[in-house]
Point group: C2
């Protein structure tokens, strides 16, 4: 292993034993030195949560042949912070990969996604970052087509040294490789979750609410991530960190005069 | 109480007993029927986390005179989902207020902030939403100037029925009211946290890492939230949910050809 091989950090939110992480590690191994820092348990829906009220533990484990791996008691974002500030302190990380998530992170799911938040966190550190998600929530999903596509995208990004603020939200349709039509650059579709709560009484007689829901697309655009996925394309949304609505800087201007 | 009084949902991320929530409830009470649904414990740094692996409990409590209040075992985003889907199901919520947060949520702190994520969640439901934060982390901070400013902003928003996709990230400088210079509409500044981890050995002999850090501004713009705060202005960033970087839809186009 020469020192000029790229250093690739791999994480996820489904936990270090999720099949999607293994597929991503296999894809990444072909291109550089891989270090895994991932949660020790599922952390789906953790968004950009960080752990501040309690300490975090990390343990080095043997899980992937020839790959330095750590499991962490924190969130996906904590994993990236520990990787950059403790485990790989002083080393230049060339690429951060997060996933492959079991389930789509298209549309506004990016806001709830620990997978994408981990990639965003690395991107805030100036590390080119890619979150990969397969449009199938099952732990039994066939990750082979997604692994192949991840390989092609990793190769492209490393080859062309796309360092400038790269943060991609990659969503892959749940199809056999030969049925995947190609890649489309898209924008984040509008949508929302129509929640319902399962209500019940727990063993100690206390009422509980358990979150469940259905995703509702709210965007008929032909250029969205949802549309590309539906048509059998891999969707890549170039993503940033700025939520400012610039048009409203003028339209909301009157409020400046109210004090 | 007539039925045409506005229905105002109030939540936060510092927990239902935080002084900032009390200040916001007092501000909101002047304008309508207030319902509080807030976490039963501090949830700072929870970002857009949702609770999916375990059930949630809610309890009605008596905390604010004449105000229907519920504490919830979930995250700030869970509180909003429970309010809209269970507690206030079928009722039109006219405004969601989150805060007043103990500590600034300017710049990229919006990504980590449970306060702003709660407001964003309500906004995804079509509810005009405002997150308020005071630029002082202390639980002993003087909330009176911020409460006064929140009143003026709530009055304005309700008076002009600014329903269209309103989602404001309001940050208030920690100054006596007479030293606050006014309100500025701003954009989210670039910045990052320079983390360090406090390392130690816990009582059972296990090494731990405890997150801490320093915020590093990375933006010299004259139109940012950080700049406005620093100059003594209340900053309002009109905020959305779309993280797409539209300029990269062209500059990254080549990737569409790689499969």
């Amino acid at each position: 292993m020469t020192s000029d091989r790229p250093l690739i950090l791999v994480t996820n939110d489904d936990g270090i034993v999720a099949p999607g992480l293994r597929a991503l590690v296999e894809a990444a191994k072909k291109f550089g030195r891989v270090v895994v820092v991932a949660p020790n348990a599922p952390q789906s829906g953790q968004g950009h949560a960080i752990t501040i009220e309690v300490p975090i533990h990390i343990d080095r484990i043997e899980l992937f042949e020839g790959v330095e791996s750590y499991e962490c008691t924190g969130t996906p974002v904590d994993c990236v912070k520990l990787a950059t500030n403790v485990i790989l302190k002083g080393q230049r990380i060339d690429l951060c990969l997060s996933g492959i998530n079991h389930g789509s992170n298209a549309s506004i799911n990016i806001l709830y996604s620990g997978t994408m938040s981990a990639a965003m966190e690395a991107s805030l550190e100036g590390i080119p970052s890619i979150g990969f998600s397969l449009d199938n929530y099952s732990m039994d999903a066939d990750m082979r087509p997604a692994q192949h596509i991840a390989e092609r995208i990793i190769d492209y990004v490393l080859r062309y040294k796309m360092r400038d603020a790269l943060l991609w939200n990659v969503n892959i349709p749940d199809l056999p490789l030969e049925q995947i039509k190609g890649i489309k650059l898209t924008r984040q579709a509008k949508g929302k979750w129509q929640e319902s709560f399962q209500e019940g009484i727990n063993p100690r007689g206390r009422k509980y609410y358990w979150l469940t829901g259905t995703f509702v697309p709210q965007d008929n655009g032909s250029d969205t991530d949802l549309k590309a996925l539906k048509e059998g394309y891999v969707s890549i949304v170039p993503t940033g960190h700025d939520l400012t609505v610039r048009s409203a800087l003028q339209s909301n201007k009157d409020v400046e005069g109210i004090l």
